[in-house]
Symmetry: C2
Subunit: 127 residues, 2 copies
DNA sequence: GCTGTTGCTTAGAATAGTTCTAAAAATAAT
DNA sequence: ATTATTTTTAGAACTATTCTAAGCAACAGC
């Protein structure tokens, strides 16, 4: 899987990937650093940052920029989007069929729509 | 004296608003601070940050979180989204009709689609 | 075996955007 | 006018992330 995506699978990257892809989750670099520490393995924080950046560039994880101080990494890289609750900080998957509609009735229980932020990221075609 | 949006329009807030809403633009807090300085008026950076936060909360401007170190404020608060060019840093409006389709032919010249990031922000219904 | 090359990891320092603090100033209320 | 509230300010503090420079690991070619 890793090698297929062009990632040189080192010891540390394996440790990080094992924890990260254990289940679908939304984690910050810092949270992941702690999760790794809890397994007893020792990986530096710089490596966690570097590895998440690498995985994101290779399409293994998705970066979600909630605000200036909240970058999440989503271990589920299938096509989907998110509800973010500004009051609780909850980040919840939106099933694909919903993404197209934004039906208010399907919002998380007890919440109302605030803002839909959508950014289409493009890149220069290399010549 | 209160503005329609419930903002107490002080001297500094007026200076900031004049520069900000002079035209449709995407600016960072820092850029706006410089723009204000260029007019000869003196407003502290803290006030620029506070005011942009206030305007955003009141729905006068839209915050666009591009990544962890790039927060833009959009003086055009009509319903629209954006193309962000990861190579050049360009932030370009998407006309509404496009937002629903993401037609590749309508991407900015010389660019290809990278990622569509969409976050639906919700908030708890106050009881 | 060695030896060079390359890429990876590391700790800690540096950076940068943003928020906080505490005091002064402006404005509003009594 | 006196008091209370809100706003502004400079600079310090904070924090997520990136950078730096040194040390390691893996591997190729000898």
């Amino acid at each position: 899987m890793m090698v297929a995506h062009g990632v040189n699978l080192t010891k540390q990257r394996r440790i990080i990937a094992d924890v990260l892809f254990e289940r679908n989750q939304h984690v910050t670099a810092d949270q992941l650093f702690d999760l790794v520490k809890q397994t007893g393995s020792r990986v530096s924080k710089a490596t966690v940052y570097n590895t998440l950046g690498l995985f994101a560039r290779k399409g293994l994880v998705r970066e979600i920029f909630i605000d200036a101080s909240r970058t999440f990494y989503d271990s589920n890289n299938s096509h989907h989007h998110h509800f973010y609750n500004v009051d609780t900080g909850d980040l919840i998957d939106i099933k694909d069929r919903l993404a197209a509609h934004f039906i208010e009735q399907d919002l998380p229980e007890g919440t109302s729509m605030d803002v839909v932020d959508l950014v289409v990221r493009v890149r220069n075609i290399k010549s």
